[in-house]
């Protein structure tokens, strides 16, 4: 089985997938690309409509025997299917349900908010420094109209007050949820699982943006340190190529259109 992982800086979905890969014990060729410069849509990157329309937006691509796959939680499930001893997913069906329902909340509720805050803080200045023609050429190959539009909005730095407030509320809700969840356990699902990686990858970078959401939460702080200390996460973080790998975001999942 030949695996190639195209990944961005170790933050958000790229961090989840890098760490999940290392947890699985499988080897893959690692190909770094700059998600913040839309290199995911560049020539030579294997794509299909599942990549172009990934609900995660800009995220890593794991190529398995020539087939490109996307969406970090489902790549995590795939790695678990390929390496069932990885411990990425619990074996008990009810524990698996709990984990998938938890991850769904992270992808659908936290990730759009966290991505919006991260992008406005860190990606917008990078994109604003690019001239109009170069930016247009950069996003032209993006197949999904709605994703391309999120890029244009990110460059213009558009984030309404409502949208910012809702995004910050999501981050606070997430840190509250984790603090509550860890009352009698070290890991979110009891044993370590993909849910720890996925949650850490979206929550940890928010420390720089919303420090108050992390204040007076000792269990959250201990859990962040515990996840960070895992060799898989250390190795994933070591893939960073910029001064602030945790700031390496790109337009991500959209805010739920129903509200």
């Amino acid at each position: 089985m030949a695996l190639t992982l195209y990944h961005g800086e170790p933050a958000g979905p790229s961090l989840t997938v890098l760490a999940a890969l290392f947890e699985s014990g499988m080897t893959a060729e690692l190909v770094p690309f700059d998600l913040s410069l839309a290199q995911r849509h560049g020539a030579g990157v294997p794509r299909d409509f599942e990549i172009d329309y990934s609900v995660e937006g800009e995220g890593p691509i794991l190529v398995v025997d020539g087939e490109p796959t996307a969406d970090s939680v489902f790549i995590g499930c795939l790695l678990d299917d390929l390496a069932p001893e990885s411990g990425l997913l619990p074996r008990d069906p009810y524990a698996r349900w709990e984990m998938m329902a938890w991850c769904r909340w992270i992808i659908e509720r936290l990730a759009p908010g966290a991505a919006a805050l991260a992008n406005i803080a860190w990606t917008t200045p990078r994109l604003a420094a690019i001239d109009d023609a170069a930016f247009e050429a950069m996003i032209a190959p993006i197949a999904a109209d709605d994703l391309r539009e999120r890029w244009a909005q990110t460059r213009r730095g558009i984030l309404s007050d409502d949208h910012r407030a809702a995004s910050e509320a999501r981050v606070r809700e997430a840190t509250d949820k984790v603090e509550a969840r860890l009352a009698e356990r070290d890991w979110l699902m009891g044993d370590f699982s993909l849910a720890d990686l996925e949650s850490y990858a979206w929550i940890a970078p928010m420390r720089d943006l919303l420090p108050d959401a992390f204040a007076d939460k000792p269990r959250l702080a201990a859990w962040l340190a515990r996840v960070e200390a895992r060799p898989s996460v250390q190795r994933a973080l070591a893939q960073g190529r910029t001064a602030e790998p945790a700031h390496g975001f790109a337009p991500g999942p959209e805010i739920n259109r129903w509200g």
């Binding site: 409509f49 599942e50 329309y53 990934s54 609900v55 398995v64 025997d65 087939e67 796959t69 996307a70 969406d71 489902f74 790549i75 499930c77 795939l78 299917d81 390929l82 069906p93 009810y94 698996r96 349900w97 998938m100 329902a101 769904r104 992808i107 659908e108 509720r109 109209d145 709605d146 999942p253 739920n256 259109r257 129903w258 509200g259």
Partner: protein, 256 residues
Amino acid sequence: MSDITLYHWEPNANSGKPMLALVEKGVPFNSHYIDLLAFDQHKPDYLAINPMGTIPAMTHGDRLLNESTAMMEYVEEAFGGPSLMPADPVDRWRVRWWMKFLDQWLCPSFSMIGWSIFIGPQVRARDPEELKAAIDRIPLPERRVAWRKAIYGLFSEEELAESRRRVDLGIGMLEEALGRHEYLGSDQYSLADINCFNSAYGLPSSQPEDVNDEKTPNIMRWVRSVARRPAVRQTWTYSRVPRFAERIMPLIEEAA
């Protein structure tokens, strides 16, 4: 008496997903019909069972499950009967990818259109005070926003146009995917087909100019092959709103 109780509305969309999975696997369950349009899902009796106030929900013994797609995976893994997930890891990934794409990108567009022309106007005919009280009872803030939009028809023309664009694009993607594999994402009938069929069975009748034997032969082949499954017919015995059954029964009869 089964130790499984399924709380559901009409056997389509999200309510139909775990129900069809249970029936396909031959797992007996107690059916508990929740009238979505009467807002039964936000009443204290139901909130005592599922504090999220969402439908469907399922209890297995003393355990509660909600989130229809995750519930389907539970049904697949916890019970015997025919397998509803392919064995190959990449096929399994593709099935999960489609379920996410349906849940978060395509089906919300179907339902926005459906609500704006079908359900919203009907609900708005109710007593305004009663409606307001019903909305105030909804426990999840995001669901409150969604219901308010749906009930009062607050979707902008732009939002509806975007939903129509997504449905058109989604039809093209489904046609392509069903040309590559016999079923959605793999060559085996799976949870992705259950997920998709429950929201897409109405396409040939609601958009006959876009979904038909000439333009989308693969979708038509697939929709008939799912409609002909005995389990699909069986789930529709749980329907109580004739308007929903009237939309699907001709397809089931024609495919049989």
